[in-house]
Symmetry: C2
Subunit: 197 residues, 2 copies
Amino acid sequence: MITSPSSLRRSERSRRATLEAALALCTEKGYGRVTIEAIAARAGVSKKTIYRWWPSKSAVILEAFTDALVGTTPFVDTGDIAADLRANLSGAVKFISTPPFGPAYAGILSEMHHDDALAQTVRAKLVDPRCDEAVARLRRAQEQGQIPPDANLPLAVEMLYGPMYYRHVLRKPIQDEEEIAALVTHVLRAIGVPPEP
Amino acid sequence: MITSPSSLRRSERSRRATLEAALALCTEKGYGRVTIEAIAARAGVSKKTIYRWWPSKSAVILEAFTDALVGTTPFVDTGDIAADLRANLSGAVKFISTPPFGPAYAGILSEMHHDDALAQTVRAKLVDPRCDEAVARLRRAQEQGQIPPDANLPLAVEMLYGPMYYRHVLRKPIQDEEEIAALVTHVLRAIGVPPEP
C-alpha cells in the first residue's frame, strides 16, 4: 500500500488528537474511568483507528505520558552536577504533580499493581531509561573528578528519586525548590562529594 | 446496656476474624475485588456487625494493616543508630513486600489516589506516627552526639524510606540486606556521620 503525504499528515493528526484526548480525560475523570470509547469520541477518531495503533487504554496513556516527559525534563550537562541534578529533579517533581500528567501517571502506577505487562512496559520505556540517563550524568561527573571513583551511583539515583515517589504515593505536599536543593546536597554528600562553599 | 464478659470475648473474636478475612481476601483477589459481603462471609459475621465497627472496606483493611504493622516493626533503641535503622527498614521492607500485608497496602495506596479521606487517614494513623518515631530515634542519637546538631532529620527519614516506596510502586525487586545496609550508611553520611570503621 502506498501512503500519500496527506494521509500521513492525517495519521499524525489523529495520533496527537488521541494522546491529547487521553490525557485530558485522565485529568477530568481519573484514570480508572477513562475508556477507549471516550478517548475516540473526544479525539474525533474511530475506536478501530485507536486499536490499530495501541493494544489498550494503558498503552495510549503511557505513550502520551512518555512523549511529553521526554521533551520536558531532559538531562542537561552544564558541567555543574549539583545544578543539573536540581534542574532534573525539579522538572520531574513538577511533571508528576501537575495535570494532565500527574493524574495520568498516578493512574498508570495504580494499574501497574494488577497488570504485570504494563508494569514491565513502564519500567522498560519510562523508568529505566531515565535512571540510566541519571547514572550516565553522574558517571560523567565522576570521570571529571567531581565524584569519588568508588561512589555507588545507582544508589544515589534511588536516593534522589525515592523521596519524590514517596510523597507522590502518600499524597504529601510536593518538594519545593529549597527541599530539592537540600536533597541534592545530601545525596552528593552521601556519595562522598564535599558540600559546596 | 450491660455487656457481659462472654459477649466482649465474642466481639473481639468477630473483630479479629473480620480483620484476618479482609487481609486474606486482599491476597487472594486483590484489594479492588474485595467486598464487605465477602469479608463478612469469610469471617462468619454479619455485614451489619462490620458496619457497626467500620465505615468502609478501606477502614477495615487499614485497621488490619496498622494493627499488624505496629507489632512487627517497632523502633528499638540499642544505642547503635546504624543497626537500629537497618533493623527498622529491613522490617518495613519485608512487611510491604510479603502477603498478606504487601498486597493489602498496595491496594490502600492505590485507593488513596481517588479517596481524600482515606489518604488523610493513612497519613495520620500509619505514616506520620512512624515518621515521627524515626525522627525521634535519630534525635536521641543526635542528643548522644552521634549525629551533628544541625542535621536535617526529616530529610534523612525521607531518604531512608523513599527508595522502599520507589521500588514498591514501580514493582522493582525489593531491597536486600546489603542494599539496606548501604542505604543506611549513605543516609548517615549525608547528614554528617562519618562512615563506620
